[in-house]
């Protein structure tokens, strides 16, 4: 037996577990559930509730099994074999119930409450407590999302430890002491954390409840099903609870490979989108107006428009792996176009293509166990929240984290930040490559070996050379490299080659042997590469160089970094095909609408940022006559007189597997040539977690808790140089437009930078952009009352 294993006896059963295992967990492995309230497998041991007593042979006192690690030869008796233990647990339960109200029938936790279960299982039938119970005003709002009933609280400190140890958002604390101890927030402060819902889920009683679920359902009313969250590329395991076919609650499922036991508040509370009023489930074809029709007629209309036409295809971030694969093949073999893209920015270079090969993937566990991590071009808390938690976990385990960004992230308490102007990332990374950076990051990475990581956000693709520079940092210092795109479908679309430069597995159409690999599976590919990227497709459409614009789960008016260009493209292209859950603002332009099945109604796989491909199953029947995207693509191929070669998912999988296996082999990175930055201020933008995005539609409490109106951030030195002050208005003028927003003066942004969030209420930042997410900007003081977009090309 290895020295890392320990053998002990629990209730007469011998078991061998890893050294350091707590007794309470070892007991689970022999099928003994020791009752507990404060213990949580992902929180540090507390020993606070004292419910989990066991008897350890040779020890005079009972021990709490949640705080004591196993030892060789240890003999443990639980409540199943020791009367003393059982008596102690009953006695402790009596203490816990003294002040607990008898309101189970109206408690949201009723029916799924550990305290209720314990009390029913072996609590006393009558209380010996005859004094008055402690009372508190209730429920007390902790935020628009979370309510607290202090009378139900058993002070296990799971919630406060979560805020302290896991999220680092320490707004929830234990106040006072003794019998007066209570969970609280500070007056005037909210539990403002994108992870706040987790405290509700881990509360072992009904003390913390979620406002959106308050009094909505009882456990026996619910139909539960497991799936994967589709809000970002984190790939969190979730359970979706539906009541009469409507989603009423989303919970985190434990998955130590991915999300531990946590999900973010967007994943938890933004579940109304699929059931929103704008959902369309019938194909539409424009006659006089948009008229409902059959799928067959709609697909024929699309096929007619595409026949011999110049087609540009833009996909959003919502596709499953199978959809992306089918689309990649459809474009190259049927629609004869390489004008195909899903990305928000085009300079992904070798970094992106390395990720597309699927080789050398980095995992959450790698992050957790890393020694040195360079995070660049990523605001993990806002973009991939569960990766943010994993980075914090790595820091807690001693990892050194260096974040190279234009705007400081919420890792600030556990990581070093190197703030650089947008566009200066490549220069900063070049210094790390050369070993000339002030932080000595390169040497630290080299020393860390396999435990060195470079985690690069796909936003680096906004700046020529930055992504390749990040890859070169990893290569130079022997670190591993992760390319993190934000949206749930991004990684699958990259692997599938929904990309103008390459097909599945990063295979380029203009490199003979790579093209040959594709044709060996697909047959003849009808196009030469490379094609246009997303913004070039819009430009071509605006310039009358395309006949058909095929938009799949994307709305360029909202998503593309140039609102005016998007509008011209939609106006000028003869045919716009929209394949989505809804039409939204595209309604005036759409020639054909193809209703897609929603994520909840789908079977398939979704690849998270790691490249982990997780299967999802339909949680409910499809709505109307909507179809999975891949089926629409297959149908369209047939309508065009072609054949994608698969009619079932099994057939699709069999073919896709041949091109999906990771391709080893180094993709050369370009030499780093840091761009020269223009003089003056640079505006940059990215979406915050909770914004006006479609996926958060209807999540009103979520927005009330975590949303915020548009703002701009500038460094104090820039603010004073321009006569600007915190809280006052700033007028932002770019080549594309003009806006006035309230200014935050903060050292959290790099000097020379103006940060505006991409899509908060009050400003759609793409009205200020001209094709990239970064642009030159002039700033000037403005009347604070005039917060609004005052300009912008809306022609």
């Amino acid at each position: 037996m290895s020295a890392d294993q320990v053998t002990l006896t629990i209730d007469g059963k011998e078991i061998t577990v890893p050294k350091g295992t707590l007794i309470i967990r070892a007991a689970e492995q022999v099928g003994v559930e020791i009752p507990r309230f404060c213990d949580h497998p992902y929180l540090e041991p507390a020993g606070a509730c004292r419910q989990c007593y066991v008897q350890i042979e040779g020890q005079p006192k009972l021990a709490t099994s949640c705080t004591v690690a196993v030892a060789p030869g240890m003999v443990v008796e639980t409540q199943n074999t020791s009367e003393a233990v059982r008596q102690a647990q009953v006695a402790n339960l009596e203490f816990l119930l003294l002040n607990h109200p008898l309101d189970c029938p109206v408690c949201d936790r009723g029916g799924e409450c550990p305290l209720q279960d314990q009390a029913l299982a072996f609590g006393p039938s009558e209380s010996r407590f005859t004094e008055a119970k402690r009372t508190f005003p209730k429920p007390v709002p902790m935020s628009p999302l979370i309510g607290l009933d202090r009378e139900r609280c058993v002070l296990c400190a799971r919630c406060t430890r979560f805020c302290d140890e896991i999220s680092g958002d320490r707004f929830l604390e234990l106040y006072a002491r003794g019998a007066g101890e209570r969970v609280s927030i500070a007056a005037g402060e909210d539990l403002r954390s994108p992870f706040s819902g987790n405290v509700v889920q881990i509360c072992p009683v009904g003390a913390l409840t979620a406002t959106p679920y308050r009094f909505v359902a009882r456990p026996f009313d619910l139909t539960s099903a497991d799936t994967v969250c589709r809000h970002c590329s984190a790939g969190c395991s979730v359970r979706v609870d539906q009541r009469r076919g409507e989603v009423v609650r989303v919970l985190a499922r434990e998955n130590p490979d991915v999300n531990d036991a946590w999900i973010c508040d967007k994943g938890r509370f933004a579940f109304g989108h699929d059931d929103a009023a704008g959902r369309l489930t019938t194909p539409l074809v424009r006659d006089r107006g948009l008229e409902p029709t059959s799928f067959g007629e709609a697909l024929t209309a699309v096929a007619d428009a595409c026949r011999g036409a110049r087609v540009g295809v833009i996909a959003g971030g919502r596709l499953l792996d199978e959809d992306a694969y089918a689309l990649s093949k459809l474009a190259r073999t049927v629609l004869r176009t390489n004008d195909l893209d899903h990305r928000r920015a085009a300079y992904g270079g070798a970094a992106e293509r390395t990720a597309a090969t699927g080789a050398g993937a980095v995992t959450y566990r790698d992050v957790e166990h890393a020694a040195v991590i360079v995070v660049v071009g990523l605001d993990a808390e806002q973009e991939v929240p569960i990766l943010h938690l994993r980075l914090r976990k790595a820091a807690a385990r001693g990892a050194r984290i260096v974040v190279v960004v234009a705007r400081r992230t919420r890792l600030h308490d556990v990581a070093e930040h190197v703030l650089v102007r947008p566009g200066a990332e490549a220069a900063a990374l070049a210094a790390i490559v050369a070993g000339t950076d002030a932080q000595g990051v390169g040497a630290a990475l080299a020393a860390a070996g396999e435990k060195g990581l470079v985690v690069a956000g796909a936003r680096l693709a906004e700046h020529d050379g930055a992504a390749d520079a990040a890859l070169t940092v990893a290569r130079t210092h022997g670190a591993r490299f992760a390319w993190v795109a934000r949206r749930a479908g991004d990684h699958g679309s990259l692997r599938a080659g929904v990309h103008p430069g390459f097909g599945p597995g990063g295979r380029r159409l203009d490199v003979a042997d790579e093209r040959a690999e594709l044709e060996a599976v697909w047959g003849p590919v009808m196009v030469e590469g490379p094609g246009r990227d997303a913004i070039e497709i819009l430009r071509a459409a605006a310039n009358h160089e395309l006949d058909v614009l095929y938009l799949i789960g994307v709305d360029p008016l909202r998503d593309a970094p140039d609102a005016a260009l998007s509008r011209r493209a939609l106006q000028n292209v003869p045919t716009v095909i929209v394949q989505s859950l809804e039409l939204g603002d595209l309604e005036p332009y759409a020639g054909v609408f193809l209703p897609a099945a929603s994520f909840l109604e789908r079977e398939g796989h979704v690849s998270d940022w790691e490249g982990r491909s997780q299967r999802v199953l339909p949680l409910r029947a499809g709505a109307g006559i909507s179809r999975p995207d891949w089926e629409i693509f297959a149908g369209l191929a047939a309508a065009c007189g072609g054949d994608l070669g698969f009619d079932t998912l099994e057939q699709l999988h069999a073919e896709m597997a041949r091109l999906w296996i990771p391709r080893e082999g180094v993709v050369d990175a370009a030499a780093i040539t840091p761009p020269t930055l223009p003089d003056g201020m640079t505006l940059t933008t990215y979406p915050l977690l909770i914004d006006e995005g479609r996926m958060s539609a209807g999540a009103d409490e979520l927005k009330a808790a975590l949303g915020e109106p548009a703002f701009a951030e500038m460094h104090p030195s820039d603010a004073s140089a321009h006569g600007l002050a915190d809280g006052l208005g700033v007028r932002l003028r770019t080549a594309a437009g003009e806006a006035v927003v309230p200014l935050r003066v903060t050292e959290h942004v790099a000097a020379g930078t103006v940060f505006v969030p991409f899509n908060q209420p009050g400003l759609a930042a793409n009205t200020l952009l001209s094709g990239t997410f970064t642009t030159a900007v002039e700033v000037a003081p403005a009347d604070a009352d005039a917060f609004a977009t005052v300009g912008g090309d809306a022609s």
Partner: protein, 191 residues
């Protein structure tokens, strides 16, 4: 900042200087005393500002402030009268002394603060003067073997603006002054 500004901010920096740079949070307790010396209690704004000075949330500061009984989070009299009623003092008649203090200070039933704002009378746990029980503190200065009569005299003296001489050490003329000494900011010449 409204509480920690000017010389008070300098005092706060002095306090922060007592602790290692990586462990500035240790300064939270003396900073709370400093806030109390300015406002006669620890108010919400002070809690927030201490959080700002230490880089922690207001909730974290309040969690600490509410744990310890010597931080007053509610309006407090100019003079804080604490009467130990723990066993050694109880055996020597402390409960009567406590009642005498409340009566002399004119404190209403269920309150701790006298309506004139002059006195807060607080029943306290063991003050560590069991050898001279009943033990009483006026503004954290000890008075030994206090009888109900002596208690009435002490309160009357303070009402008249006198500061009674404690059993040991210097007298602090108000709760605020005592709080400043508790923050370690009293001038202490080497004797």
């Amino acid at each position: 900042m409204a509480v920690f500004e000017g010389v008070v901010l300098e005092d706060a920096r002095t306090i922060l200087g007592r602790y290692p740079e990586a462990h500035q949070r240790s300064a939270i307790m003396p900073l709370l005393y400093l806030a109390q010396s300015i406002e006669g209690m620890v108010g919400r704004e002070a809690l927030r500002e201490i959080g700002e000075l230490l880089g922690i949330t207001t909730a974290e500061v309040e969690a600490v402030a509410s744990f310890y009984s010597m931080y007053r989070l509610l309006p407090t009299g100019e003079h804080l009268v604490t009467v130990c009623t723990n066993l050694s003092c109880k055996l020597r008649g402390a409960e009567v002394v406590y009642e005498a203090a409340r009566e002399a200070a004119g404190i209403l039933h269920g309150e701790e603060l006298s309506p004139d704002g002059l006195f807060t009378v607080h029943e306290e746990e063991c003050l560590g003067v069991c050898d001279f029980a009943p033990a009483v503190q006026f503004n954290v200065c000890n008075h030994d073997n206090v009888t109900p009569g002596r208690m009435r005299e002490l309160i009357a003296a303070l009402r008249d603006g006198e500061v009674p001489t404690p059993a040991r050490g210097p007298a602090f003329g108000s709760f605020k002054a005592a709080s400043r000494a508790l923050a370690g900011l009293e001038e202490v010449p080497a004797s």
